[in-house]
């Protein structure tokens, strides 16, 4: 069975950034996403996730490489300065490339 290359973009951020991130995903044309409730630690302190203010999420989205680049650029420009956030991309392979 042939698989096709795609990019997986992962964003870890404070929960209050959820709206901003998913809005961006819609803008660049992603067809879906997966969201994880997480805890974390980073340059902006511990996020033990027991209270909205300290809640943390991870959002993963599979997109074609061109979209990934656009997404990373906008994340870095618009959201990194405003929110506790980390983002990275990696290579994955999927079965139905037209889905993403």
């Amino acid at each position: 069975m042939t698989t096709h290359p795609m990019k997986l973009v992962t964003v870890v951020c404070e929960a209050y950034a959820k709206e901003a991130v998913t809005k961006l995903l819609r803008e660049v044309g992603a067809h879906g996403y997966t969201l994880f409730p997480v805890e974390g630690d980073g340059s902006r302190g511990k996020r033990p996730a027991d209270f909205p203010e300290f809640a943390n999420i991870q959002i993963e989205v599979i997109v074609p490489p061109a979209v990934a680049e656009q997404l990373m650029e906008k994340l870095g420009r618009d959201l990194f300065p405003r929110y506790a956030m980390v983002a990275f991309e990696s290579e994955v392979r999927v079965l139905r490339p037209q889905k993403f």
Partner: protein, 326 residues
């Protein structure tokens, strides 16, 4: 009972002592932690219970008694950000967006403080108008909206984007989960009236104070984690977080008297004016004014105003009311 005795009685209530225990848990770095869903569950319970009880009280009292002081409460919610903004901007030399964010918070209200105040009044047998919950329900939205508009006006440069985030702020201020639950339960209580209350009293009223004590344990932990930020906010905000509630508290009591409330209700309106949200307002502000620094407004409302109010503030606002009504 002297003010001093009143304060002591308040400090030795389970609610305040559990709050202190939460502070200690945070400061000793105990691994005690409430799961988020427990926090959410407690919040839902408290808001539904207080809203429902208030709605039943409105049904009992009749809307005729409620509308005028409720309107006054709304006006107060809108006015407080308008007078605190210039104070913060020019007195505190804060950036426009930070001043707007903090101003929105001082106009906003927090259910926990209100609930603690009603429990306190009940404990010392001071009667009060139970429909005062209606004021709690209507004060938050205007404060947040005015605060966000102030912030947007001060930073209008990118045009278009502003309208969408203003709309988002309005959605959050009117339909955000805590306001929705509170206003919705108020309406349900109003429609049900006494017969409805009879059915659900054993769940929403009888165990209420105990649930509040548990919730304050959690709030103590959350506030405790913010305590070290006190150093970061500087002396101006430290003073602001205590003096402004006192002024707003007096204002609320006075307006309560003016609009025909009894001593107990006026005290509660004072408590509401004095309180500052650390749940609904931060969520709305973080989404619509993301450039404002959360350390400033959160520390001010959560680590200064909130502990001050539930320990010393409540008995003081009652004392102010007593002076005004005597």
């Amino acid at each position: 009972m002297s003010v001093f005795e009143a304060i002591q009685a308040n400090l030795l209530s389970p609610a305040v002592l559990f709050f202190a225990l939460g502070l200690i848990a945070a400061l000793t770095k105990s691994d005690l932690k409430f799961p988020e869903s427990l926090y959410v569950g407690l919040t839902i319970y408290l808001l539904v219970a207080i809203g429902f009880k208030g709605g039943v009280a409105i049904a009992e009292a009749g809307i005729a008694k409620v509308w005028l002081p409720a309107l006054a409460a709304m006006a107060l919610g809108a006015l407080i950000p308008l007078w605190t903004y210039p104070l913060l901007r020019f007195g505190g030399k804060l950036s426009a967006v930070d001043a707007a964010a903090i101003a929105a918070h001082s106009g906003s209200v927090i259910a926990v403080t209100f609930i603690a105040a009603t429990n306190y009044l009940k404990a010392i047998h001071q009667p009060f108008e139970s429909y005062a919950t209606a004021f709690l329900a209507v004060m938050e939205s205007p404060a947040i909206l005015i605060g966000v508009v102030l912030g947007k006006l001060a930073t209008r440069t990118r045009g278009g984007a502003d309208m969408t985030s203003l709309k988002a702020a309005a959605h959050e201020a009117l339909l955000g989960r805590s306001i929705f639950l509170l206003v919705g339960s108020l309406l349900v209580g109003w429609l049900c009236g006494k017969p409805g209350m009879a059915k659900v009293e054993a769940f929403f009223v009888t165990p209420f104070q105990g649930v509040l004590a548990l919730f304050l344990l959690e709030m103590g932990m959350v506030a405790g984690r913010r305590l070290e930020d006190l150093k970061k906010v500087g002396p101006f905000l430290l003073g602001f977080g205590i003096v402004v509630p006192l002024v707003n508290g007096a204002l609320g009591v006075w307006l309560g008297k003016l609009t025909g409330l009894e001593l107990g209700g006026a005290t509660l309106l004072g408590v509401l004016s004095a309180s500052a949200s650390y749940i609904a307002a931060p969520a709305a502000i973080r989404m619509s004014l993301p450039d404002a620094n959360p350390t400033l407004y959160l520390t001010s409302s959560l680590a200064i105003t909130f502990p001050f109010n539930i320990t010393l503030g409540i008995p003081i606002y009652l004392e102010i009311a007593r002076t005004l009504y005597s």
